[in-house]
């Protein structure tokens, strides 16, 4: 265990978030069992009021989860000095590989939480709370994921061993610690570029079609949602493969985390922000599609989808521009 202020903040924060989630789950169970919108009993009124509490708590949980993703990456970066061979966050995560699981879990939770908020949003717009049961079942399914992530995170930090001078025995200390790999495997630059720009073009065309013809068939929505997910994975792989080296202007440095640092003008924030945002709004539009069957919220969902698709297309374009910028304008060339 490394007694580092960032580590303590993350562990304490996760604990609080977990308690808040479990508290919401307890209320959610009560709501699922007792909910009956047709009744106007005192019990139903209390349950209706409790939906506000759950929504408020989940908004905070969601906000904290997003921040904890950044704090986690930052902390991993800050503690890299403690490991032989580590040069940035990548090295710290390699030092105890469950760190990667924590990172993936945090990203998955980010999307799961935002999808929940999207569903909650359209539900709140309707008079008769049509999605209440679904929403709270979703929440109950989400809780174990958050718990698992908190557990992995603790496991990660507990399992870290700093390579330090610990005793007075006559030995070379650095030899005892296994040198951690400081780089990530990356895809070849040329093919990655074709895949990235191809996938990006498909993504934009799909979103554009949906924006122009909002009444188009639901299957196009689903395809676009699924494609967003593929594009997300392609984008992250591309950032590691070639966007990073163009920003760092060195052919061997593929770290996806250093982009968040000051020496690279914090470019990672708009880069990842626009990517996550674009994907998230496109997926939200797809996830709410099945609820169009319900009469009371059909128009609300329809309007929300139009808005979300517009935001999504805008953010994806911004993302592609930021990713392309150094390729066009920097002096660095990956090929001659």
């Amino acid at each position: 265990m490394i007694f580092h202020t960032g580590v303590l903040a993350l562990v304490a924060g996760s604990l609080i978030v977990l308690i808040m989630t479990l508290f919401s789950v307890a209320i959610a169970l009560r709501i699922i069992i007792g909910w009956d919108i047709t009744k106007s009993t005192a019990k139903q009124l209390i349950l209706e009021r409790q939906t506000y509490l759950v929504a408020t708590i989940m908004k905070y949980v969601m906000g904290f989860q997003i921040l904890s993703l950044f704090l986690f990456v930052y902390t991993a970066d800050d503690i890299h000095k403690l490991f032989v061979g580590a040069m940035c966050a990548t090295g710290s995560l390699n030092a105890n590989p469950i760190g990667w699981s924590v990172l993936f879990a945090k990203i998955v939770i980010f999307f799961l939480c935002t999808m929940w908020l999207a569903i909650n949003r359209v539900d709140e717009l309707a008079e008769d709370y049509p999605l209440v049961r679904f929403k709270y079942k979703y929440l109950i399914a989400l809780a174990p994921v958050i718990a698992l992530e908190a557990y992995w995170q603790l496991d990660y930090f507990l399992g870290l061993r700093a390579n330090v001078i610990t005793s007075c025995c006559s030995s070379l200390f650095s030899d005892e610690g296994i040198t951690v790999a400081s780089s990530l495997a990356s895809l070849p630059v040329g093919p990655s570029m074709y895949v990235f720009y191809g996938a990006g073009a498909v993504e934009i065309v799909l979103l554009f079609l949906l924006m122009k013809r909002p009444g188009s068939s639901p299957s196009l929505r689903y395809i676009s949602g699924a494609w967003s997910l593929i594009f997300f994975i392609v984008s992250v792989a591309s950032i590691i493969s070639f966007v990073s080296i163009y920003y760092y202007e060195t052919p061997v440095h593929h770290c996806p985390f250093d982009l968040l640092q000051k020496q690279y003008m914090f470019i990672g924030y708009p880069l990842y922000g626009s990517l996550f945002g674009g994907i998230l709004f496109s997926m939200a539009a797809a996830v709410t599609e099945p609820f169009k069957k319900i009469d009371s919220i059909r128009t609300e969902i329809h309007n929300a989808q139009r808005r979300w698709t517009k935001i999504s297309i805008l953010l994806i374009i911004v993302f592609i521009i930021i990713a392309t910028w150094p390729i066009v304008f920097s002096n660095f060339r990956a090929y001659d």
């Binding site: 304490a12 308690i19 509490l53």
Partner: protein, 384 residues
């Protein structure tokens, strides 16, 4: 749905109406944030300062071991060392500790060597003859001695050695030189009664930083009883020590964070009849529960942001203007002659993130249920 701007305006006016209650929360909150951020700022300052110092230290310090303990190292090792490929300059160092019973302080006695000749941080000059010495500012102050004054030390054999102070290190170099007494090699060897063919340790420069651990391994093979200490290991160890100290102090304040959560919970739960009436009226004129919750959110946000900024400023002043008077003894360790040291002002977004998680998250967690309870009050029930 009212505009958020209007709701913030209203939130500010409700906060102003209950000045005392909100003020007490803000005071406690600011104090908590000030303490926690002082810890973060100071830990960071110590870390960067040590790193800067270690930057100039040699790549490898070679110590001799005997029976698991640090021993004087034979200077004949140097011949073998210079045969290892990649090795740069090799310098034997002569130094030791001296407990001065007169002032109850430990001094570090060190022999002047080639590398020190061009040191700029001195009033006067470095010692040249066996009866001269240069001392750190802390030593000079403790002995109330100035340039050209006599400086005597007592050897183990109860003999006193008289030296003349020819140089005093300036205050700027205090972290390096505060407890230092520099004398010539011969005079130091005589004072500590060291054998002529031994040194305290040997520093080894390595031309290519990538070869450091390979060179260290070769040294170990040549001298199985020696202990090469790498600069990187020193950096890692110091980094970890300060992490650990900061973490321990922080953990001690977890109790305070818990107490703060209970305090916030208590304050937020105890809404009086007037407040309840106000919410009832808002509901009666058409506000919905969601709007009242938004109002409560903004009230909390104003209190949290205000306290956060106040706390940060207090910590900044405490650490960077008053040298962290309250915290420094805990974090830096103990020594009579500890250098006075002015932490370099530094805040970054990472520290803000950490502080946010340690303070605002507990605050929100403690206040969310009480503010919901307030928001659901019935208009007719409270106005009756």
């Amino acid at each position: 749905m009212k505009g958020n701007g209007r709701i913030i305006e209203y939130a500010l006016s409700t906060l102003a109406r209950r000045k005392f209650k909100n003020f007490s929360i803000a005071v406690v909150f600011s104090a908590l944030i000030a303490v926690l951020s002082s810890i973060l700022f100071l830990t960071h300052a110590y870390k960067t300062e040590t790193l800067k110092l270690l930057d100039n230290s040699p790549e490898i310090i070679l110590q001799n071991m005997s029976g698991g303990r640090h021993e004087l190292i034979p200077t004949e090792y140097i011949k073998t060392l210079s045969g290892i490929a990649g090795v740069g300059q090799i310098t034997p160092r002569y130094w030791g500790y001296y407990y001065d019973s007169l002032t109850s302080a430990n001094y570090t006695l060190m022999a002047v060597d080639e590398n020190m000749r061009d040191i700029q941080l001195i009033d006067g000059r470095m010692p040249q003859t066996d009866t001269e010495c240069a001392v750190g500012r802390g030593v000079a102050d403790l002995r109330q001695a100035g340039l050209k004054d006599d400086f005597f030390l007592i050897t183990g054999a109860e003999l006193s050695v008289n030296l003349k102070i020819v140089g005093i290190f300036t205050a700027n170099s205090a972290i390096l030189t505060n407890d230092l007494v520099v004398m010539t090699k011969d005079s130091l060897i005589k004072f500590f009664n060291m054998p002529a063919d031994k040194a305290t340790d040997i520093t080894v420069e390595v031309n290519n930083p990538a070869e450091v651990s390979m060179v260290a391994r070769k040294i170990r093979r040549a001298f199985p009883n020696s202990r090469p200490i790498l600069k990187n290991e020193l950096i890692r160890t110091y980094d970890n020590i300060f992490n650990w100290r900061g973490g321990i102090v922080l953990t001690m304040f977890f109790g305070a964070i818990a107490a703060f959560m209970i305090f916030v919970w208590d304050k937020a739960t105890g809404i009086n009849a007037q407040e309840r009436r106000e919410i009832g009226i808002l509901k009666a004129i058409g506000w919905e529960t969601a709007d009242v919750l938004t109002l409560k959110f903004w009230e909390g946000a104003v209190v949290a942001t205000g306290s956060f900024l106040t706390g940060l400023i207090l910590a900044y002043v405490h650490v960077f203007y008053f040298n962290a008077q309250f915290l420094a003894p805990v974090l830096k360790g103990w020594s009579v002659l500890f250098p006075r040291f002015q932490p370099m002002p530094y805040i970054d977004i990472y520290q803000i993130f950490v502080l946010f998680f340690l303070t605002v998250v507990p605050y929100v967690a403690a206040s969310v249920v009480p503010s919901w309870k307030a928001a659901i009050s019935d208009p007719d029930a409270v106005m009756r």
